[in-house]
């Protein structure tokens, strides 16, 4: 059965305190892995797509990495405006491309 698990469920950081979020998955025929950011009361907003193990992508204070079984979202020196829920979504091939969203990690960055 295709599954995705994100940890931790919630994370509280002080401004400037770096950390990592984890997304582990068991899907067959991985076509890519997406990271989205979701602010309260809004829909998810695209951050990154990773396609193969060993790939890394960066955007400002965020860096996403991918292995064969999991992905990490590293947050370096976070600011309060980075507070949001971060969702990962592996895409797998089931006749056509399908996304499974994890439950997300709720990140709170305090000044």
């Amino acid at each position: 059965e295709d599954q995705v698990t994100q940890s931790p469920e919630a994370l509280r950081l002080q401004e400037g305190e770096s950390s990592s979020l984890n997304c582990s998955y068991t899907v067959s025929g991985l076509r890519g892995l997406f990271w989205y950011r979701q602010d309260p009361g809004k829909g998810p907003e695209f951050l990154f797509t990773l396609y193969s193990a060993g790939e890394e992508k960066e955007k400002e204070r965020l860096k996403a990495t991918l292995t064969k079984k999991e992905s990490f979202l590293h947050i370096t020196a976070p600011k309060p405006e980075d507070s949001a829920t971060y969702l990962c979504a592996p895409m797998f091939s089931g006749g056509y491309n399908k996304l499974i969203f994890g439950a997300g990690t709720r990140l709170a960055v305090h000044p």
């Binding site: 809004k42 829909g43 998810p44 396609y51 491309n97 439950a103």
Partner: protein, 116 residues
């Protein structure tokens, strides 16, 4: 570029009543998705259209939920009759090409439904 538009923003109904949500995707986007997001969970796909045809509705509770995409553009999602467990945010998303690609999705802000 205009984003995905959804209405209404909020809806409160009593159980057994009916409700409808509307979505206008980004212009030119072929694929449209309806997701259900229950509090504390990730979005779950209900139905996926490519143009005006259904690609996947395997997780749509068809005894109470229905959806259509008129002329391959706007879409409506209906619940009749609603149950307490239908309380959730209903998100609409669109993407430019078809279901065979691995492109990103663009989401609307959602409709928050409360069933009392």
């Amino acid at each position: 570029e205009a984003g995905v538009a959804q209405s209404p923003r909020y809806k409160i109904i009593e159980k057994r009543q009916s409700v409808a949500f509307w979505c206008n995707p980004i212009s030119g986007h072929a694929t449209l998705y309806w997701y259900q997001q229950i509090l504390g969970q990730g979005p779950k796909l209900l139905i996926q259209f490519q143009n005006n045809g259904v690609v996947d509705d395997s997780q749509l509770p068809k005894d109470r939920f229905s959806a259509e995409r008129l002329k391959g553009v706007d879409s409506t999602l209906k619940i009749q009759p609603a149950k307490l467990e239908d309380s959730a945010v209903y998100l609409c998303a669109s993407s430019l090409f078809g279901a065979s690609t691995n492109e990103k999705l663009f989401f609307g802000s959602g409709t928050q439904l409360s069933v009392l």
